[in-house]
Structure formats: structure tokens, C-alpha cells
């Protein structure tokens, strides 16, 4: 019994039997002369090339989610307030007056907060724009392209505490500097004071939150503590760099910071891990809780440094490498010197 095999046997096909594939052999173009005046030199014009636009989010429904939800909440609160006020007025006019006044005040406060938040997020966008321009200028050795950026910087920080130092640095710019040198110079010399204040702020908050976590008796309480300290720190840093503090701004900054931290480059992670390692070697003589404290402190410090990076209008010259180590040491120092009785839970 012979079954036909499932595979096909090799067959030799004669060349004549092959069907001509028009796609593979297009009719060739004959050579010909072209008059010189008709030939135009091909210019490599790269200026027309558009930069690739970021991919559009194709989840359309998400765009509607927030406004719809917002409207619903606002309507519900409004209706509820209306019912409350009408009920209180019908109960007693004095009670009604009190409730109306309260509602008015609340609306005023919310309005102010919203306005602040909006201006804060506008300022954040401006800062991001400035950062992008500065990054672009750092790549080129042209001359005079940075004038627009300088003008924007001056305008942006005209009413802030940074104004004096910034203007001092701008007037000291040498006429021979090219754009890259201008950015490097400003980045080093125009924001010294703000940088120092911000870094001190990061250090203080990190050590504080580290010590608090190390000493707090309830584990679940730690998270709240760290969150609270982090938010305070973000607000303070934003103020230092002349960004209007507000709940909205704070939230937006926190979101960006966390995003950036989540996608931090491998090198940064390795560096931070190194300092964390150092921290743990320091704490092996202390206790597990102290180790947690150092972890929390380092997290706060990283958040703070990222906030500085986001709020600073110019790219950072070079990050203080050993800052995280110093913070770890600071926490240990506080724990050992400030609270000698922790010696009891040493392992």
C-alpha cells in the first residue's frame, strides 16, 4: 500500500516555462543626454524635514472621562449645596445666611486655588520650553541664537527672587561667547543661590523624613509621613525656582517627578544603588528600622533632585554626585547622636 507523500518532490523547471515577472524586470530606461539648462542641482534641504510628532493616544474615550466626571461632580455638589441652602433658609433665615456666606467663601478660595494652579502649570510649561531651547542651544556653536532665550528668561523671572542673580550673570556675559558657552555660563553662574537653597531644602527634608520613618512606631503611618514631607518639599522647591505654589501645580509636578523617577536611566539607578548600598553598610550596625529610614530618606532625596531638574530653567551643569551619600550619612548621624536610646534595639 502506497500513500502519496505529504511533501512535494523536487522538480526541475526549464527556464522557458518560467512566467516572466514584470515586477522583477522592469523595462530599462535608455541612456540619453539632457540639456544642461534643464538639469537642476539637487539640494540637500534638510530644513523641510519635520521632526517626528509624538504618537497620538488612540484612546479617545479617556479624553472625555475627566471633563465628564468633573461636570458631574460639580453639578452634584452644586445641587447638594443648593438643597442645603434652601433647606437652611426655610428653617431659619439666619442659618441660611450663615450657610450662604460659607459657600461663598469656599467658592472664593477654590477660585483662587484654581487660578494659582493654572498660572503654576503655565509657568511649568514655560520652564519646560526654556529647558528644551537651552538643550538645543547646547548642541550648537552658532552665534546670536540665544538672544531670544535670554529675553524670555529675563521676562519670565522679572518678578521673582531669581531676578538679581540672573540679570547679573546676563550682564556679565562676554561678547565672544557662542550659544553653547552662554548656556553653560548661565547654568553655572545664574542660579547659584537658588540651587544652593533648593539643595539645602532637599537635604533637610530627606534627613527629616528618614529620621521620622526610623522612629515612627507604625509601619502604615510611614507612607503618609513620607508623602507629606515629599509634597511639602516639592512645593518649597517650586517656590525657590519662582513657580507659583498651588495644589494643582504640586500635583502636576509630583506626577512628572514620579514618571521621571520610574523611567530613570540605568546609570542613575546604578549610582543611586551604590549610595543605597553604602547606606545599608552604615546601618548594618544599627537596626532594620534605621535601614528603612535611610531608604525613605533616599527616596525623598531622589524626588527632590528630580524636582530641581524639572523646575530649573536651564539644564544642570553636573549633579552633586555624593549628595545621596551625604544624606544617608546625615540620617545615620542624627539617629546615633540625636537619640542614643536606639542602642537598645541594635542587633
Amino acid at each position: 500500500m502506497r500513500d502519496t507523500p505529504k511533501w512535494q518532490r523536487p522538480i526541475e523547471i526549464p527556464p522557458e516555462a518560467m512566467a516572466a515577472d514584470p515586477a522583477e524586470h522592469p523595462p530599462h530606461q535608455p541612456a540619453r543626454d539632457i540639456p544642461l539648462d534643464k538639469a537642476q542641482t539637487v539640494e540637500d534641504d534638510t530644513s523641510l524635514e519635520l521632526p517626528p510628532s509624538p504618537p497620538q493616544s488612540n484612546v479617545r474615550s479617556r479624553g472625555w472621562l475627566v471633563p465628564l466626571l468633573g461636570t458631574l461632580v460639580v453639578l452634584a455638589i452644586g445641587a447638594e449645596l443648593y438643597r442645603l441652602i434652601s433647606w437652611s433658609i426655610s428653617t431659619h433665615p439666619l442659618l441660611g445666611g450663615a450657610f450662604s456666606l460659607l459657600t461663598l467663601l469656599l467658592m472664593l478660595v477654590v477660585g483662587i486655588e484654581i487660578r494659582r494652579g493654572l498660572s503654576g502649570s503655565r509657568q511649568l510649561r514655560q520652564v519646560q520650553g526654556l529647558q528644551q531651547q537651552a538643550e538645543a542651544l547646547l548642541q550648537q556653536t552658532s552665534h546670536g541664537d540665544s538672544t531670544a532665550l535670554l529675553h524670555q528668561l529675563e521676562q519670565r523671572y522679572h518678578h521673582t527672587a531669581l531676578k538679581n542673580e540672573l540679570q547679573g550673570a546676563i550682564t556679565q556675559l562676554d561678547s565672544s561667547y557662542n550659544d553653547r558657552e552662554i548656556i553653560q555660563y548661565l547654568s553655572r553662574h545664574a542660579l547659584n543661590q537658588a540651587d544652593r537653597t533648593a539643595q539645602r531644602c532637599v537635604q533637610r527634608y530627606s534627613v527629616e523624613s528618614g529620621v521620622m520613618v526610623a522612629l515612627s512606631p507604625w509601619a502604615s503611618f510611614d507612607m503618609l509621613l513620607v508623602a507629606w514631607r515629599n509634597l511639602r518639599m516639592i512645593r518649597e522647591i517650586a517656590t525657590v525656582y519662582g513657580i507659583a505654589p498651588g495644589l494643582l501645580t504640586q500635583g502636576k509636578l509630583l506626577k512628572q517627578v514620579l514618571q521621571n523617577l520610574a523611567f530613570a536611566g540605568a546609570s542613575e539607578v546604578a549610582m543611586d544603588a551604590g549610595s543605597a548600598l553604602l547606606g545599608s553598610s552604615l546601618t548594618s550596625s544599627l537596626s532594620a528600622r534605621a535601614g528603612q529610614g535611610i531608604g525613605a530618606g533616599l527616596f525623598t532625596a531622589r524626588t527632590g533632585l528630580m524636582t530641581i531638574k524639572l523646575c530649573r530653567p536651564l539644564p544642570e551643569p553636573d549633579r552633586p554626585k555624593n549628595m545621596l551619600q551625604q544624606i544617608a550619612k546625615g540620617i545615620v548621624h542624627r539617629l546615633t547622636s540625636g537619640k542614643p536610646e536606639t542602642g537598645t534595639d541594635r542587633k
Binding site: 556653536t141 552665534h143 562676554d174 561678547s175 565672544s176 561667547y177 558657552e181 553655572r188 553662574h189 554626585k321
Partner: protein
């Protein structure tokens, strides 16, 4: 005569007394606390001005004002700087140079005629971090030497025999403008039988003519660089010495040099060449040109643009052959202790103040063109290199002019030759090698400017262009 005395004499003779000093220097070098910076440049490329300006700015660096891109100074970590040149047998005439630049009207230093040394000690605070464990303060010793640029071109002669050198010179004298200028001298040579006993005074006469030829080629409009032997142009203490009666044989090179008479010109010249290399060039090289750690090569690009293609080619050749005399490579700790090599090189186009600021980038590119070959060889040794347009002492002010309805940036300064004040747009520096017909057109007019007076008090960043970046690149990692 006691035994201790004898021993003492022996020790002195063998140089053992220098050992502690040498050991100390080696250790300091190993700790990267002693740096020898090679300031390399052909004659009139601005070595003396560079060294004076560098020393002047570093001596003031504790104020942290004038060098914003030199991180150690602008962060205020430099405590003070001391000039230790007086310890050297031939100190660099810093005060004299500065006095000339501070006078009214100020003038550039005279061309250097002898070797001199400058040593600076910089006391600084270490960066916060692990290094602080070694102590908060540390000192960096910086050694520089100044010398006539002409002498530098003798260094490549060390690797050549007399015959090779003559062949090289033949090739050089076969092209313009040397052929034209030296026509009579070459003709004179063609009638000479090199192997026969020479008449009295012929060698001296030919040398004299050769010397004036070299001087002529060095001056405008030729501005050539590759002129050997350099001591003919700048003899210093060797003036009138028979060692300098030396010139290459260009015409009818003898077929059988081994048959030369002991009194022939050929034997005399060969002997003079070998003596010159061994007694003049080699000590100069051995005592001053080994053991550098960092190097800055100063190049005057504008001179070549003003004087044309032959000047460009000659300078390019001179720089490429010259840089073969230095040792490049990375330093291990052991190597740093005993035989350091140059591990960082900065190529600097000087006179950046003689072009408008928007041309600095082009000047940079043009410098790259000139040193392309040299840079490639240095890179091969995995040594960092960088190009920079700088001006150690700024002679001009940037200005704006309104011509035909559009703004034009230009320079204001005093002419070096007449001293009158001019405003000038000197033209654009080409970023590619200009074509033959572009060289002598009206495309550029780079004028030599007289210096602006240097204040006796505090210096500011506008007294130099990118000198601070040069310092940061060359020395910044040591602080």
C-alpha cells in the same frame, strides 16, 4: 683626607645628592600634584603671551572673577597661588612681560631669545567627597617653559641622519617660494665639488647666505615655518660658534660620499650636523622636552590665511613633523612615576580676538583642517584632543557697524604697526581649504592689533577669550 670626605665627594659626583629631590618630584607627579604643561608653538604663535596671561590669571584665581569656566576658581576653591620661578636658574621674565602689556601705550613682549621656566604653586581646597580624606587642602605645582619657537623645529632632526635631512631639504627647496628665493644660493651650490678639499671660508660664506635666506623666508610675505636648523635664526648663546656653520646640500649630492676627503665640505657639514644634533638639540630635548603630562599646541591660523597656500602647507608640515617628537599615551600609575607621557592635548587657534566672534567656530574648523594629520596620530594613541579658538590677551573690542542698511559685527582696536585706531570687519574664516585663486584675493584681511592695556588690578573675563576653558580642559581634572 678622611673617608667620610671621600665618600661625600663620590656621592656628589654620582649625583646621589639629587636623589631625594628627584624622588620627591616623582612622588608628587605620581600623586598628580606636579604637572608639566608643554606650551608648544612655532615662532610668533603667542607662547610668551599665553604663559604671561595664564600666570597672571592664575595668580589672581583666588578671587574667582576672571576665569568663569575654570571650575576650581569659579567655585572659590583656590586658596592662593604662588610664583616659584625664582627657584629656577632661568626664571621667566613675567614682570617684564606684564610691564610691557600694562604700559601706555602697551606693546607685545619681544620675541623670546632664550629658554626660561616658570613654576606656579596653586593651593586649593579639595572637592567635597572621598578625596577630602587626604586632607582638605592640597597643592598643585605647574611647570611651564618658554623658549624660542625656532628651536622647536630642531627636534625632528634628532631622528634624521645628515643624508636624510639633506634629502628632506631638497624636497622642500624644490617648490615655491623657496626655489625662487634661494635661486642664487642653489646655483652657487651646483658648482661645488663636495668631496674635494674645501677652500678656506667657503663654508662660512654659504652658511651666511643660508642664514639670510632663512630670515627672508621667515618674514612676510613668505611667513614660512619649517626652517632648519633653528639656531641659525635664533642662536642665543651659540652666536658665532662653528657648530652653526651648517646648511643642507641641495645640489649634486655626491655619488660616493665614502670617498670624501677629510677636509671636504661634505665631511665638515656631516660632522657639524652630528655635533649640532648631539651637543645642541639633544640636551635641549633631554632637559626640557621629555616628561610632559599635558600639552597645548598654539597655532596662528590667521597668518597662513594672510600669506597663502605655501605658508599653510609649510606650517602643516612643520606641526606634523614636530609633534612626532613628543610622547603620547595613557599613563598608568607606574608610568606616571617614572616616564610620564602626554595624555591630553589641546590645539588652540590663537588670535581669536582678531576675528569677529561669529567667526570663532570657523576658526576652530580651519584649525582642524590644519592639524588633521597630527590629530589623527595622537588619537591613535588614545589620547584626548580638542580644538579651541582662544585669545590669551584680548586686543580688540567687539563692535557693531551699520553699513548699507544692515548690521555688521566688527572689531575695534589699534593697529600694531601704526598705532592708529581702526574698526574692521576682517572677513570670514573659511572652513574648507580655499582654492588656489582664493588665497590672494581680497577675501580676508587680518590685521595685527596692538594689545589693549592690561589693568594692574583685578582682571575680568573680557581680558581673554576662552583662556579659562583651555585651563579647565588641560588642568581642570586635577583639582
Amino acid at each position: 683626607m678622611s673617608i667620610p670626605n671621600k665618600l661625600g665627594g663620590l656621592i656628589r659626583q654620582s649625583g646621589l645628592t639629587d636623589w631625594p629631590e628627584q624622588l620627591k618630584m616623582s612622588v608628587e607627579r605620581g600623586m598628580e600634584q606636579r604637572v608639566r604643561l608643554a606650551v608648544t608653538g612655532l615662532s610668533r604663535s603667542g607662547k610668551t603671551v599665553f604663559i604671561s596671561a595664564l600666570a597672571r590669571h592664575l595668580l589672581q584665581s583666588e578671587q574667582g572673577r576672571s576665569l568663569p569656566f575654570f571650575a576650581a576658581a569659579s567655585e572659590g576653591r583656590i586658596v592662593a597661588t604662588r610664583d616659584l620661578s625664582t627657584e629656577s636658574p632661568s626664571p621667566f621674565p613675567l614682570q617684564q612681560c606684564l610691564a610691557g602689556l600694562q604700559a601706555s601705550p602697551p606693546h607685545w613682549p619681544n620675541s623670546t631669545e632664550a629658554l626660561s621656566e616658570i613654576r606656579l604653586a596653586l593651593r586649593y581646597r579639595r572637592k567635597p567627597g572621598l578625596g577630602r580624606a587626604l586632607g582638605e587642602h592640597s597643592t598643585l605645582y605647574l611647570d611651564l617653559i618658554d623658549y624660542p619657537g625656532e628651536w622647536l623645529l630642531d627636534l625632528p632632526m634628532l631622528t634624521l641622519s645628515f643624508e636624510q635631512w639633506c634629502k628632506q631639504q631638497q624636497a622642500l627647496f624644490a617648490s615655491l617660494p623657496r626655489t625662487e628665493v634661494a635661486a642664487d644660493w642653489i646655483a652657487q651650490q651646483s658648482g661645488i665639488d663636495w668631496l674635494a678639499p674645501a677652500p678656506e671660508g667657503l663654508r662660512q660664506r654659504l652658511t651666511e647666505r643660508y642664514r639670510s635666506l632663512l630670515q627672508q623666508l621667515r618674514e612676510p610675505p613668505y611667513n614660512l615655518s619649517l626652517l632648519q636648523p633653528g639656531r641659525l635664526l635664533m642662536p642665543a648663546e651659540l652666536a658665532g660658534s662653528p657648530l652653526l656653520d651648517l646648511f643642507p646640500i641641495i645640489q649634486n649630492w655626491p655619488e660616493a660620499p665614502e670617498n670624501a676627503d677629510t677636509n671636504s665640505l661634505f665631511t665638515q657639514l656631516q660632522q657639524a650636523y652630528n655635533d649640532y644634533c648631539e651637543q645642541v638639540v639633544r640636551p635641549f630635548y633631554r632637559n626640557h622636552f621629555r616628561h610632559f603630562d599635558r600639552q597645548i599646541v598654539l597655532v596662528d591660523c590667521l597668518k597662513t590665511l594672510n600669506s597663502g597656500e605655501s605658508c599653510f602647507n609649510d606650517m602643516q608640515l612643520a606641526l606634523t613633523t614636530l609633534l612626532h617628537s613628543f610622547q603620547y599615551g595613557r599613563n598608568s600609575l607606574f608610568r606616571r612615576l617614572f616616564r610620564p607621557r602626554i595624555n591630553r592635548v589641546l590645539f588652540a587657534a590663537t588670535k581669536a580676538d582678531h576675528v569677529t566672534a561669529n567667526q570663532h567656530h570657523n576658526l576652530d574648523q580651519f584649525l582642524r583642517l590644519m592639524i588633521e594629520a597630527a590629530q589623527r596620530e595622537i588619537r591613535f594613541e588614545q589620547v584626548e584632543t580638542r580644538c579651541l579658538a582662544l585669545s590669551s590677551l584680548r586686543a580688540t573690542e567687539a563692535a557693531q557697524a551699520r553699513l548699507d542698511g544692515q548690521h555688521l559685527s566688527c572689531l575695534r582696536g589699534h593697529r600694531k604697526d601704526t598705532g592708529e585706531e581702526i574698526a574692521l570687519f576682517p572677513g570670514e574664516v573659511p572652513t574648507e581649504l580655499p582654492r588656489a585663486e582664493d588665497w590672494n584675493s581680497d577675501r580676508f584681511r587680518f590685521v595685527d592689533f596692538a594689545p589693549r592695556p592690561l589693568p594692574a588690578g583685578t582682571l575680568r573675563p573680557e581680558h581673554h577669550i576662552r583662556l579659562d576653558q583651555a585651563i579647565e580642559y588641560l588642568l581642570g581634572d586635577l583639582f
